[in-house]
């Protein structure tokens, strides 16, 4: 059966005063007016709200919306030894910014980055919650480096992310996703991603493991990525629309997460057109075991539009299922 999921992030504030409580809480925390515990309470209430919105829309495999993440790079880097967090740098071609990790020594996992967050989300979700981690290749690509080769850097980040994945599995995570958006910009580095994925998945046990690429296509290395020891390959089919042609030509034996709902634009996607395009892959892709999702995290949209996109994900999956 065709299922549905989110890629990772979700808008943490909306337009109503109630939906802006996290913004107010962070401002008060920054001014030392509330404690870290008070802030956690608000964060957790927003995680519940975000899970609730996904459940209400009918998303089968939700995420915690990455509500507590400052950004996808420093959220991990600050828990690794050998990496410091520096100033703001533009995040790919978005109009958002991340604090750039600066590698200043051997990289070592020091403590959990996302395990506690996942554990809380799983405790209130009433069903499986997908844990999402940033991939070693993307961490290495977006960091400021100290002269080490990229391969060495990817290997060191891979060891640290593998430790985080083991910790997630030990905590009970059954669905784990590693994000590698940077590979869409450097497909010639496909072997580095392959090596990193092998390291990260070596000890994943029975957990379902997805490699997700977004902000572009991976048409040139689709076969290589699909051959990795993963259970699911996530593809951006909006900004990476060349993936459609590659899939039509090469197919995929591994089930996919079809990132078909545009997560970068407020324009309303047409589920009928999307289902028709996906159905054209019938026989070439195991659609019955695949997921429908937005093209990337939803935090680039206002909250009301993100809610609408959730409904469009579910409607597109329903139409796709009906056509199978």
């Amino acid at each position: 059966m065709v299922s549905t999921t989110l890629v990772g992030s979700y808008p943490r504030i909306g337009e109503t005063p109630e939906e802006q409580r996290l913004r107010r809480a962070i401002a008060k925390f920054d001014e030392d007016k509330i404690s870290e515990m008070d802030l956690w309470e608000v964060e957790r209430s927003v995680v519940k709200e975000v899970l609730g919105e996904q459940r209400a829309a009918g998303i089968a495999l939700p995420t915690d919306g990455q509500v507590t993440w400052y950004d996808s790079q420093s959220h991990f880097a600050r828990h690794f030894d050998g990496v410091q967090v520096d100033g703001l740098v533009r995040y790919f071609d978005t109009n958002t910014y991340y604090r750039q990790p600066v590698v200043a020594g051997p990289i070592r996992w020091r403590e959990n980055s996302v395990v506690d967050e996942w554990r809380f989300a799983a405790s209130v979700a009433g069903g499986p919650v997908k844990a999402v981690v940033t991939g070693p290749y993307t961490l290495a690509t977006l960091a400021k480096v100290d002269g080490r080769t990229k391969r060495d850097l990817v290997r060191e980040f891979a060891d640290s992310i593998a430790t985080e994945v083991r910790a997630l599995r030990t905590a009970g995570a059954t669905h784990i996703q590693v994000d590698e958006p940077a590979i869409t910009r450097n497909q010639e580095d496909g072997t580095l991603v392959a090596e990193a994925v092998e390291t990260v998945t070596a000890d994943k046990g029975k957990a379902w493991f997805c490699l997700f690429t977004y902000f572009g296509d991976v048409a040139g290395i689709l076969d290589d990525l699909a051959a990795l020891p993963i259970d699911n390959l996530g593809l951006d089919l909006v900004q990476g629309d060349r993936n459609w042609k590659a899939l039509a030509g090469q197919g995929s034996e591994v089930p996919l997460t079809l990132g078909v709902i545009d997560a970068r634009n407020t324009r309303r996607d047409d589920p009928a057109t999307i289902a028709k395009s996906a159905l054209a892959l019938k026989g070439k892709v195991p659609l019955e075991e695949s997921y429908v999702s937005p093209s990337n995290g939803l935090e680039f949209l206002p909250r009301d539009k993100a809610r609408e996109k959730l409904r469009l994900v579910v409607e597109s999956a329903r139409r796709l299922e009906a056509g199978l």
């Binding site: 808008p11 943490r12 337009e15 913004r23 401002a27 533009r90 958002t96 991340y98 634009n265």
Partner: protein, 322 residues
């Protein structure tokens, strides 16, 4: 004239205006009440620039919120979105293009004319560029990014024409998104050219926050007379590249970092100007801050501008420049 001084565009809003904007958004004070305070703040900033001796003035954009949504609010075919996160706890609203873009009338001209009336020195007309407007908007109407950028270029060209007709001798078209997608640099050149074509006024484009490695070859292709660059935030590390690829137009060179609360000393700024003079002739070198100063406090912004003007004056005196 050499080593002219200027500013990039925005200045911080004084606390009384920031409070009034919040009250206005809640309907607690009327449009005319807000306008009076915007005029007061603009007058104060123009007077400050004259007092310290800046050569080419700006109005400080006291009546603008976000540089993209300000235009979106004043264009047919455009709406404004809900809040979207930029980073950390910062959020902003984006333009949403829902139909054919058009102007119902000039957008910036009345304010420009009013602010220019406060000074005999030239005051820049300030526009947000077509590529940046496109890149920072949600697009629900046009079939492609290029179509949307060129649609923005069309209305911004009309606006630039109107500024020129009103007497503006200098028009700046900001393109902070210029380096966002380096595969679209040809589109930046095309869209910017559609705005500046046929203008007699001096044209400037400002950009910042970019990895300029792939952008460099395009600097000389940008259809403007002056390039305004953030230089100090990156430790002047762009300078060596200019040795290899000399700039064939004027450069406005950022000598104070707008992202730090620390006000640079006159000596620090002077060193930066001296470094710049190793690469650019003084008659084509304009001295300004890295970017708009609106994120600093009024005191910090004024401190940075004072240091900039004092250092420029000291360099000119030491070198006997006029």
């Amino acid at each position: 004239m050499s080593l002219l001084t200027t500013s990039v565009g925005s200045f911080p809003k004084p606390p009384y205006l920031a409070r009034a904007r919040t009250q206005h958004s809640k309907g607690e004070i009327p449009d005319e009440g807000l306008r009076a305070l915007e005029e007061r703040a603009t007058k104060e900033w123009v007077a400050f620039q004259e007092e310290i001796g800046i050569d080419v003035l700006v109005d400080g954009e006291q009546y603008r919120g976000d540089m993209a949504t300000y235009f979106a609010e004043n264009l047919e075919g455009c709406e404004v979105s809900g809040l979207v996160r930029s980073y950390g706890n910062r959020y902003y609203k984006k333009p949403v293009v829902v139909g054919e873009l058009s102007r119902t009338g000039p957008i910036t001209v009345d304010w420009w004319r009013w602010a220019q009336g406060l000074t005999r020195k030239p005051l820049k007309g300030m526009l947000t560029g077509p590529y940046t407007m496109m890149d920072w908007s949600f697009n629900e109407h046009y079939p492609s990014r290029e179509d949307l950028a060129l649609a923005f270029a069309k209305v911004l060209h009309q606006e630039a024409r109107d500024l020129e007709a009103a007497g503006a001798r200098v028009i700046q078209i900001d393109e902070p998104a210029l380096s966002t997608r380096t595969d679209e640099l040809d589109l930046v050149v095309k869209a910017l050219g559609a705005v500046t074509r046929g203008l007699a006024a001096k044209t400037i484009t400002h950009t910042c926050y970019g990895n300029y490695e792939r952008v460099f070859p395009y600097f000389n292709k940008l259809p403007v007379d002056q390039l305004d660059l953030e230089m100090s935030n990156s430790g002047l590390d762009l300078l060596d590249r200019f040795r290899r690829e000399p700039l064939k137009k004027e450069i406005a060179f950022g000598v104070v970092d707008v992202h730090t609360h620390v006000v640079e000393s006159e000596g620090q700024v002077r060193e930066r100007i001296e470094r710049a003079l190793e690469f650019f002739p003084p008659e084509r070198l304009i001295i300004d801050p890295d970017c708009g100063l609106k994120t600093r406090t009024v005191d910090e912004a004024q401190g940075k501008l004072r240091a900039m003007v004092a250092a420029t004056r000291a360099v000119k005196e030491a070198r006997g420049l006029r």
